[in-house]
């Protein structure tokens, strides 16, 4: 009698174990498309201790042992760095690729305007007193100034666009950092409860850590308490166990008012140099884009200086000394934004100093001197066209290098993700088989219960 009751009891426990196996397969299937989800596996165990009957041990069925996650720690340790690096190069490449101010074949671009200015001066050199040619030369100078303004504005707009992206990402970073700190607390509490590993909380934390690595390049460091702390490149702590620091973006006057990032740790603000997407954006903004802006500014400054010097050495159509053709641009910084044709000359092309002192109205010797500035070595040792080509090539080289790096980093990240997915991901086929397996076992156990019940009935009918 006691044995029959034990069979019924162990059958019920075994049914519960198979139900847990089915529930786990179901959970896996429901999360088959969830990013960062690691499949869970049920480990069924024989119930211990077995019952001793006479000289033999009779088993007492199966129970649910553990539910574990399929995680490869080696792969997962590599992924945050891969996420951060891929996001960094990708953000930089996309930022530079979106800039078209230096496209070589853009009609009306700076190269066109530069050539147009000197072509107009050449036309003028052939007939210095022609009012139409004088007007055309002044118009070409205005076009050149506007091309400088537009090109610089295009580059500066890209830098400002980066600021907007940075500001938008900062709030996401702070939210995720708080989330990791909070999950550290929850995971610690769940483990303290002794109910095994809180797999879904671990998944959620891993997902937040991955995203933070992608955004900031933060490296996760597991602690002995089972927490995960996060450190930005350079060592500043973004998350320390259950405490999250706060990232803030503030205008940096030393960088033209563009945003700089600071990390608030316990009320003190320290300069932050993130990696990941934020790092890539800042790299592009303060690297290739700033270099291009500086190059264009320097070119505008040098060219305006050279042209003004030559223009000032000549005389206008009325024999008066030449004014500065371009308004004073001040310092080199921002020169391309400020460069403009002298308003007086713009309004009156007679003031264009095409002649040399002592020449007649049709003298164009100073126009030839102005033309000579085209091949004059500027501050960098190159002439104007060479300097522009250098800026264009340097920008293109940065964009090309980042595009290649982005492709390579994306491939590396994709490879690691595939390997992690291969190990941790959910296979629908596998889970269906697991469900079938649990279902079959469940059916068999119910058969056992039914048989035991019939045996009970038989026993109870004895008279």
């Amino acid at each position: 009698m006691t044995d029959l009751l034990r069979i019924l009891t162990s059958g019920a426990a075994s049914l519960a174990a198979q139900t847990a196996a089915t529930a786990t397969a179901s959970h896996n299937l429901e999360n088959a498309a969830t990013p960062g989800y690691a499949r869970q596996r049920v480990a069924l165990e024989a119930t211990l201790p077995a019952e001793r009957v006479g000289n033999a041990y009779i088993g007492r069925g199966a129970i649910l042992g553990t539910v574990t996650q399929a995680r490869d720690r080696f792969l997962e340790a590599q992924l945050p760095a891969a996420y951060g690096q891929a996001a960094r190069s990708s953000a930089g490449a996309e930022t530079l690729e979106a800039v078209h101010a230096l496209d070589p074949e853009t009609p009306g671009g700076l190269g066109d305007a530069l050539s147009g200015f000197y072509s107009a001066l050449r036309q003028l050199s052939q007939n210095g007193s022609d009012p139409g040619l004088r007007q055309a030369a002044v118009g070409a100078a205005r076009s050149l100034a506007l091309a400088f303004n537009r090109t610089r504005q295009g580059l500066e707009d890209a830098r400002t666009g980066v600021d907007a992206k940075v500001a938008g990402s900062v709030s996401e970073v702070n939210e995720l950092a708080r989330s990791v700190a909070s999950l550290n607390r929850d995971i610690r509490a769940a483990r303290a409860g002794g109910s095994g590993e809180p797999n879904d909380l671990l998944d959620a934390r891993q997902k937040a850590v991955d995203r933070l690595a992608e955004l900031t390049g933060a490296s996760p460091v597991p602690t002995s308490e089972g927490d995960v702390s996060l450190f930005l490149p350079g060592g500043a702590a973004l998350v320390t166990s259950m405490t999250a620091s706060s990232l803030a973006a503030a205008a940096d006057p030393a960088n033209g008012g563009h945003l700089a990032l600071q990390l608030s740790v316990g009320g003190a603000a320290v300069s932050a140099a993130p990696g990941g997407q934020l790092g890539g954006l800042l790299d592009a903004r303060d690297g290739a884009l700033r270099e291009a802006v500086n190059g264009i500014d320097q070119l505008a400054y040098d060219l305006a200086g050279a042209v003004n010097a030559a223009h000032g050495a000549g005389v206008d159509l009325d024999g008066n000394p030449g004014l500065a053709l371009f308004d004073p641009v001040g310092a080199a910084g921002g020169a391309a934004a400020r460069i403009a044709v002298n308003g007086s000359i713009s309004a009156n092309a007679r003031l264009l100093a095409a002649a040399s002192a002592g020449g007649g109205a049709g003298d164009a010797r100073n126009a030839l001197a102005l033309i000579a500035t085209e091949t004059q070595a500027l501050s960098g040792g190159l002439d104007a066209t060479g300097a522009l080509a250098q800026v264009t090539s340097a920008f293109g080289a940065s964009a090309s290098r980042l595009a290649a790096a982005a492709e390579m980093d994306a491939a590396l990240r994709g490879n690691l993700e595939s390997m992690r997915e291969s190990y941790s991901g959910v296979s629908i086929d596998e889970e269906l088989i697991e469900m079938q397996k649990a279902q079959r076992a469940y059916q068999a156990i119910t058969k056992v219960i039914q048989t035991s019940s019939e045996m009970f009935d038989t026993l109870l009918q004895l008279k």
Partner: protein, 305 residues
């Protein structure tokens, strides 16, 4: 390797996206014919493109300017040719009418003809091209030579043929940074500045000598007329040489411009055959990726259970 469903979907997204990206790039290249649309496409070429474009425009402008200067020299040469013809006719008249066999009336008639020559020469020397007096040096806004005026006795006013231009020579660029003279100094060629013969003054002297029926004085102009002929011929020769130089510069700069444009094209433009091949290849790759993806999606245990 264990393959999960998510891997299949992610691979489909990634590979499909890559193939579509390549197809879009190939389509853009084939449709626009542009190989370097952004500096990143070929950084070295991007810089060289702007330099070669600037070079092509520079050479084109130089060729155009040199061509116009040559046209002006052509006009100046035409004017000097008129002067040479006038001097030749004046010499004939001086030789003929300095003979004692001619009457005063015939000499007055000769004076009228010389006056006509002077008027014609001045008109020729005041030639304009593009609204500019090309024989005025750089003071080209006004006619350089004073027109013919006669006094009450029918004599030519000495102010006739006075030169109001300057002695400056215009220069044009015939190669980047290389300048060449591109005008004729009429004050030297016609007015004898720098020790030559004042051709117009000589013609005036001849006209007035004939008007005054002075055959000896008329005959005395022959020497200056002969030197004037040589002087004008020398000026024409100098102008002709300059013209040849300018014409050569036009041809050389046009050839160099075409070469620069060719270099721009070879740097910036896509090879049509290569672009079409790349496009076909990219389309085929996308088709294959989509087919493989669709087939992998069809195989699942869900349909078998």
């Amino acid at each position: 390797m264990r393959v999960t469903d998510r891997m299949m979907f992610e691979r489909a997204v990634r590979e499909g996206g890559l193939s579509r990206g390549r197809l879009d790039e190939a389509t853009q290249r084939a449709a626009s014919g542009v190989r370097v649309a952004h500096p990143k496409d070929d950084p070295g070429a991007a810089g060289m493109i702007s330099m070669e474009q600037a070079r092509a425009e520079r050479l084109d402008a130089i060729a155009t300017t040199a061509g116009r200067a040559s046209d002006e020299l052509q006009a100046a040469d035409g004017a000097l040719s008129e002067v040479a013809n006038a001097i030749a006719r004046a010499r004939e008249l001086a030789v003929q009418l300095s003979s004692s066999t001619y009457s005063a009336a015939e000499r007055v008639s000769g004076a009228k003809e010389v006056q006509g020559l002077i008027q014609s020469v001045v008109a020729s020397l005041n030639v304009k091209v593009g609204g500019r007096y090309v024989l005025a040096g750089t003071s080209d806004g006004a006619a350089p030579f004073t027109g013919l005026t006669l006094d009450a006795f029918g004599n030519v006013d000495p102010a006739t043929g006075a030169y109001a231009g300057d002695g400056n020579v215009r220069q044009v660029e015939i190669a980047p940074g290389l300048l060449q003279d591109a005008s004729v100094r009429a004050d030297v060629a016609v007015k004898g500045a720098g020790g030559g013969v004042d051709v117009l003054a000589t013609l005036i002297a001849l006209a007035n000598a004939l008007q005054a029926n002075d055959p000896a004085l008329a005959g005395s102009t022959l020497g200056d007329l002969a030197r004037g002929t040589e002087q004008v011929a020398t000026a024409r020769g100098t102008g002709g040489a300059a013209m040849a130089g300018l014409d050569g510069a036009v041809a050389a700069n046009q050839a160099a411009r075409d070469d620069a444009k060719g270099r721009v094209s070879s740097l910036a433009d896509a090879d049509a055959i290569q672009a079409a091949t790349d496009l076909a290849l990219a389309a085929r790759a996308l088709d294959a990726a989509l087919t493989a993806t669709a087939r992998s999606f069809q195989l699942t245990l869900l349909d078998k259970l």
